[in-house]
């Protein structure tokens, strides 16, 4: 079985957490403006990424993760380190 790509895993989490359609989850989509998240949703979303990818996301990093693309880049960067 082929592993899911990082993008696919991120997308699945966003769809699940925010209750949005997969088509809406494009790299440039902003969590708050485009995907209807509020401040508590974004906290929970980051926790879900931490859980799924086994990483720690400090609050100062979390603040910068405003779009789907930001998250994918950030997690890929973390994975390569």
């Amino acid at each position: 079985m082929a592993d899911k790509t990082l993008e696919e895993r991120v997308k699945e989490i966003i769809v699940e957490q925010l209750g949005v359609n997969a088509e809406q989850v494009v790299p440039e989509a902003k969590f708050i403006e485009d995907l209807g998240a509020d401040s508590l949703d974004t906290v929970e979303l980051v926790m879900a990424f931490e859980e799924e990818f086994g990483v720690e996301v400090p609050d100062e990093d979390a603040e910068k993760l405003q779009t789907v693309g930001n998250v994918v880049d950030y997690l890929r960067d973390k994975a390569e380190k």
């Binding site: 925010l18 209750g19 926790m47 859980e51």
Partner: protein, 253 residues
């Protein structure tokens, strides 16, 4: 002011006997019992193993935004469903009503205990960093009132009575008082509870307050009976739309 009369213009219920007022009333009139062996969790270690559980409830239908299901305790979900039924029956969504004059007073004796229990386990096993940001808003006893008002844009008086088993009754009384005193024309009033979880069954069990007539669930709740042996817990929500009489007449409610 003292001349203001209050009438009921809508009803909603989610109960172990049915998830609408019609189903509930029909089952009640037929003398049915909603009490049975607890399905929500493994009760083998508990003295009391019976309760009135809601069956086949779909929380998604209670909210405009399905995302809310994940962010609410079951006590709020059943409150939302009962409120929706009552608000629809009262016709509060049609016409040009002044939303500043519609309030919500749906209380809960305990609030989101099941959420607290689940999150406490997370805290113990994984630490504070894994606690849900929704723990507090899911737990607090006035969140049902708050979310009902947000769902429909009701901007009138909003609070929650927390008086144990008297909560729903007192909520209706307070709603009447708020309308009589001219602080609102309409109040969505009632109560909600959903605590069929280990902490509540264990906690009330520790008080020796629950019936242990486990082999006869349908005959266990028998207040004032010579052979009574405790109360039987159940979950559910009941909501009424209370309205000032002239206001209700003017809009043909």
């Amino acid at each position: 002011m003292s001349g203001r009369r209050v009438v009921v213009t809508g009803l909603g219920a989610v109960t172990p006997l049915g998830n609408t007022v019609a189903e509930f009333w029909s089952a009640l009139a037929q003398g049915k019992s909603g009490i049975d062996k607890i399905q929500a969790f493994d009760v083998s270690a508990y003295d009391c193993q019976i309760a009135g559980e809601i069956k086949g409830f779909n929380p998604v239908a209670a909210f405009k935004n399905p995302k809310e299901v994940k962010r609410t305790d079951r006590y709020t979900q059943v409150a939302m469903a009962a409120a929706k039924e009552a608000v629809q029956e009262a016709g509060l969504l049609s016409g040009n009503l002044n939303l500043d004059r519609i309030g919500v007073l749906v209380g809960s004796g305990i609030g989101g205990l099941g959420t607290l229990e689940a999150q406490h386990t997370v805290l113990m096993q994984k630490g504070p960093g894994r606690l849900s940001p929704f723990l507090i808003p899911m737990l607090i006893s006035n969140i049902a009132s708050g979310l009902i008002s947000m769902e429909y844009g009701f901007r009138g008086p909003n609070f929650a009575v927390v008086t144990a088993c008297a909560t729903s009754g007192q909520s209706v009384g307070e709603a009447w008082r708020v309308i009589r005193d001219d602080d609102a024309d309409v109040i969505v009033a009632g109560g909600s509870e959903s605590t069929i979880c280990p902490m509540a069954v264990g906690g009330f069990g520790a008080m020796r307050a629950l019936s242990t007539r486990n082999d006869e669930p349908q005959r266990a709740s028998r207040p004032f009976d010579k052979a009574r042996d405790g109360f039987v817990m159940a979950e559910g929500a009941g909501v009424m739309v209370l309205e000032e009489l002239e206001h209700a007449k003017r809009r043909g409610a």
